[in-house]
């Protein structure tokens, strides 16, 4: 068993918490029942790692099987590391009728054409999502399995979720994707976060959105059994705010987004203080909202009246455009670049 495998295994054992490790190893069919039972998950990790190594030795398990473990782990617990969302622009007809086999062969072929030392592992989960694990290698170096890139793609949808992708590999991956998913190009939609499902729901509009309709739900209906001796003077206002908030940010459980970053570049314009107005390079500032669940907190701000209504496009375009990184310049006043209808 070569030492790459050893290192990979020890790193995996170190990274994965014990309970999850047990679960993952159970899902991983390389070990027999007895072998699994022989493992004692209460002992310290280094000892556990030793035992695992010996077991792998006797089943002579190769690197690709170990990467299986990692892939299982990542797909079971996807909320690790930061995921970036990319969009496949101007997709063609046949992208709608592409199945997994076809896509896999295409992708592998394309990527292997671009770079010779790379190891690709793909699988399709129950929820139609295709998971790709790419271990990159240099021109003369073997694939590095310790820093793999993970790509998640839902067939027939124009969205790709990528985690831990180095800049030098970006063009390669994107070209391969574009070729195998029959689309013109791949563009960054400036949406990133830790929770993969949240990103998916947000970009694919799969969370519960609220649309104005003629039969509105009243607040009284929303909260069960209102106390007769408590009366709200501003009930209409409250309902309106509630409605606006849920129209902007959705209803029910919102996607779990952690941050939203706004880069401001503005020129100081005020008559009187010339020295400030004259300087030509703009003032730069970064505003960063962060929370365990950003959308929930923003929604609360709106519904509780802390933020003014109607909601400023800066906030509402987090959900409407599905992005959480904005650059705000002077020219397009307050609004966000590329506000064209290019993405739905």
């Amino acid at each position: 068993m070569e030492d790459v495998a050893k290192e990979l295994l020890s790193r995996l054992v170190r990274r994965i918490p014990l309970v999850r490790l047990r679960h993952v190893l159970g899902r991983w069919e390389r070990l027999s029942k007895t072998q699994l039972l022989s493992l004692d998950f209460t002992q310290p990790k280094w000892a556990l790692c030793e035992n695992l190594l010996s077991l792998c030795e006797e089943n002579e398990i190769a690197v690709k099987d170990l990467t299986e473990i990692e892939m299982l782990y990542r797909s079971e617990y996807p909320d690790q590391g930061v995921w970036h969302v990319f969009q496949l622009v101007d997709t063609s007809e046949e992208s709608l009728s592409s199945d997994f086999m076809h896509f896999r062969d295409q992708f592998k072929a394309n990527l292997k054409d671009l770079i010779n030392h790379v190891s690709i592992k793909m699988k399709k989960l129950e929820d139609e999502s295709v998971w790709i694990r790419i271990a990159w290698g240099g021109n003369f170096s073997r694939p590095n399995h310790l820093k793999p890139t993970y790509v998640v793609h839902h067939l027939q949808t124009p969205y790709v979720f990528v985690s831990s992708l180095a800049n030098k590999h970006k063009p390669l991956l994107f070209q391969a994707l574009a070729l195998s998913a029959h689309c013109g190009s791949v563009k960054d939609v400036n949406l990133s976060g830790r929770c993969l499902t949240a990103l998916r729901d947000l970009s694919m509009r799969q969370y519960k959105q609220v649309f104005p309709s003629r039969h509105q739900k009243r607040l009284e209906e929303r909260d069960l059994l209102p106390n007769p001796s408590i009366e709200n003077e501003h009930i209409k206002l409250a309902e309106y705010k509630q409605q606006v908030a849920s129209e902007v940010f959705g209803d029910g459980v919102l996607p779990k987004l952690e941050t939203a970053v706004y880069k401001l570049e503005t020129k100081y314009r005020e008559h009187g203080s010339e020295n400030l107005a004259r300087r030509d390079e703009p003032f730069r500032g970064v505003v960063k909202f962060s929370s365990s669940n950003l959308l929930e907190s923003l929604k609360y701000c709106v519904s509780s009246g802390m933020a003014s209504t109607p909601v400023t496009p800066l906030l509402s375009s987090i959900t409407h455009k599905g992005r959480n990184y904005f650059v705000i310049k002077d020219k397009q006043h307050g609004s966000v670049p590329n506000t064209s209808a290019s993405k739905f």
Partner: protein
């Protein structure tokens, strides 16, 4: 845009109405529930409002208000300023023992000191009591509800031999001494 008046309506039998003004919805609702829960021999009617003035449309459905509780959350500057604006829309008759301030978050580190100080000044100038509240714990909330009820009973005239004005002379806020030049 009308001034809220204390004596424009007739009182009802065994009825006490309290108006909670504040823009912290959650706390307001919890407090209202606690108040309604705790009173058992007269029926209390709680009305919630974000700010004053109250909307004119339910002017006639609104009963006579016996006590106005202005909830100030010291953690937010907005709360204080909105309270200040609300004060302008209260009839002077209320300040004869029918107004009290309810302060939350006074023990929080992030609260700048002068916010509380300015609030105190307001309360002193208006001869209003200043009730402090632990809004994070259920016990604190029920205690606050109890205190509001105590004042409400008196100001609604449900306690014999006691009037709101008389009580307010006893519990009106006073400027605390500066403790640091005592030695």
């Amino acid at each position: 845009m009308s001034l809220l008046r204390p004596f424009s309506k007739l009182p009802e039998l065994n009825m006490a109405n309290v108006l909670l003004v504040g823009n912290d919805d959650t706390f307001q609702h919890v407090l209202a529930d606690a108040i309604v829960k705790q009173e058992n021999n007269v029926n209390v009617n709680v009305r919630l409002a974000r700010t004053l003035p109250l909307p004119a449309e339910n002017e006639d459905s609104r009963p006579r208000i016996d006590l106005v509780v202005l909830i100030v959350n010291l953690r937010s500057e907005l709360s204080l300023s909105s309270t200040e604006t609300s004060l302008k829309h209260l009839d002077t008759g209320f300040f004869l023992g029918k107004v009290c301030f309810l302060v939350t978050g006074a023990r929080c580190t992030s609260v700048p000191h002068e916010r509380l100080a300015s609030l105190r000044k307001i309360a002193v100038s208006l001869h209003c009591p200043l009730l402090f509240t632990e809004d994070q714990t259920a016990k604190g909330i029920s205690a606050a509800a109890g205190r509001v009820l105590n004042i409400l009973r008196v100001s609604a005239g449900l306690v014999p031999l006691a009037t709101g004005l008389g009580l307010s002379t006893l519990i009106r806020c006073s400027l605390p001494p500066d403790l640091d030049c005592q030695d």
